[in-house]
């Protein structure tokens, strides 16, 4: 999967967790959990959805790399290549 495809998947799954959010206004360098008020259960739901969809295991120790949209795309695209 290339970066654009990863980005589309990521934004769609974030949209499922925060359906009322206008993702076009989301700063890709901002902490999206803070911006969108996503709690721990919402974030776990997001990780479950992304892991299944992108076939990336996303261990807990890597959660920090999913902090912003930009960092998450970089991480998921790289991890997707490895698996």
């Amino acid at each position: 999967m290339n970066r654009d495809e990863v980005k589309a998947a990521l934004l769609q799954e974030i949209g499922n967790i925060a359906p009322e959010a206008d993702l076009s206004k989301l700063d890709p360098a901002a902490d999206f959990r803070e911006e969108l008020d996503i709690d721990s259960i919402g974030f776990l739901n997001l990780v479950i959805a992304l892991a299944e969809r992108l076939k990336v295991p996303i261990p807990e120790k890597d959660y920090g790399r999913l902090r912003t949209v930009d960092s998450a795309i970089g991480y998921l695209a790289a991890e997707g290549q490895r698996t």
């Binding site: 709690d39 892991a51 295991p57 996303i58 807990e60």
Partner: protein, 397 residues
């Protein structure tokens, strides 16, 4: 013959709107089956029966708003004969409030649009609108986050129907879902502060061992099998409460009724405002994996605006956990007729003294709001210490 009635889903509920029958006359039902969907200020709630038998007769029509206690259906218990004649007067609808002079216009509601361009609506509303060829986009939603509810479709139909007279068209606009929920929370909390002599206690718990245990346990598991700290906390609270019955139950008619079961209500904040605290049944007896699954399921259903009547009606105590991005501690307000509420602040690293030396530990500030008519501070302090002890030895949970 048993009567299936409009249940009270909280101290603040006076009436509910029947939006869907999930069973029909002649259907067999078992205790615990969901047989109808009712819309309240808290959203759509699936109502369960606690009677087993055959549905003899449905007594309330879809769309009717009826007071709590109104018979909705008659259930013939096994062994009884079918009734030849109805014996009860049909349900009375709650009279509509006085109508304003001008009809409310049907406006498009932009805020209810989802990212995919889909309109938020309850399943019953979606079905009802489709049956009448109505576009959900043109209907004002009064549910959570502006979701279109059954009653909204009904109101739009009345306004839009060409044959409807001026009186029918002049349907007053109901308060929005959020305003309704705010009113419900206000009623319950005002009653709590008026009637319950609260006392409050706080205790800082060292949860380093819990977080390390979780990290090790989750390390080799796929995301769907991982546990959150919230599940450990819920289990610790429920387990500790087993030794402190005076914090688990209801204060009704001037006396305390302890509950044998421990159904911890989990306060869930809704996106866009408001909160509900539905119960996780027999919290103390669930293994952690199942408890986590139920927490996730409940939180997801609550946010989709769909939960069951028993979950709303019977929490025996409540836990309000501020999560990972909240405040350090909370002084929680009891949800009547319960007699206690536990609070848990956001875990943070803090200086902590261990064997005379200051070290950094992960700390969670536990608080208790409890009813002085039923318990005293000494026992409350022991309860908080018992919870903290369990969080220090998570392998016990």
């Amino acid at each position: 013959m048993g009567l299936f009635r409009m249940p009270s889903l909280g101290a603040d509920m006076e009436a509910g709107t029947l939006v869907e029958w999930l069973k029909k006359a002649g259907d067999k039902v078992a205790s615990g089956d969901t047989i109808a969907v009712v819309e309240t200020q808290k959203g759509a709630i699936e109502i369960e029966t606690f009677e087993a038998g055959v549905i003899e007769r449905l007594m309330t029509e879809v769309g009717q708003t009826v007071p709590v206690g109104t018979p909705l259906a008659m259930i013939r218990v096994q062994g009884e004969k079918a009734l030849p004649e109805p014996q009860l007067a049909p349900a009375r609808a709650v009279p509509a409030p006085a109508a304003p002079s001008a009809p409310a216009p049907v406006r498009p509601v932009a805020v209810t649009r989802l990212a995919a361009g889909e309109i938020k609506a309850s399943p019953a509303a979606r079905k009802f609108a489709a049956e009448h060829g109505l576009d959900l986009a043109g209907i004002d939603g009064t549910g959570p986050e502006g979701a279109v509810l059954f009653v909204d479709v009904e109101a739009a139909l009345r306004r839009g129907a060409p044959a409807a007279g001026a009186a029918a068209a002049a349907e007053p606009k109901k308060p929005s879902g959020l305003e309704g929920m705010r009113a419900a929370i206000a009623a319950a909390m005002a009653r709590s502060k008026r009637e319950i002599p609260h006392y409050y206690l706080g205790h800082a718990a060292d949860i380093t061992a819990s977080l390390e245990w979780l990290a090790a346990r989750n390390a080799d598991r796929p995301p769907a099998d991982r546990l959150l700290y919230g599940a450990l906390l819920l289990k610790a609270v429920a387990t500790a409460l087993g030794q402190f019955p005076e914090f688990n139950g209801f204060y009704r008619d001037g006396r305390f009724e302890p509950s044998k079961s421990i159904h911890v209500g989990m306060a869930v904040a809704l996106r866009g405002g408001g909160l509900v605290a539905p119960a996780i049944h027999d919290t103390d007896r669930l293994p952690l994996d199942r408890l986590m699954g139920q927490m996730r399921d409940l939180a997801n259903r609550v946010r989709a605006g769909r939960f069951r009547s028993s979950e709303m009606a019977d929490p025996t105590v409540t836990l309000t956990s501020l999560g990972e991005r909240g405040a350090d501690w909370v002084m929680p307000v009891i949800y009547p007729p319960q007699v206690a509420i536990l609070g848990a602040g956001t875990p943070t690293a803090e200086p902590w003294v261990v064997e005379g030396r200051v070290v950094a530990r992960q700390v969670c500030h536990l608080t208790l709001g409890a009813d002085h008519r039923v318990s005293d501070g000494h026992r409350g302090a022991l309860l908080l210490r018992a919870i903290a002890d369990l969080l220090r030895s998570p392998e016990q949970l």
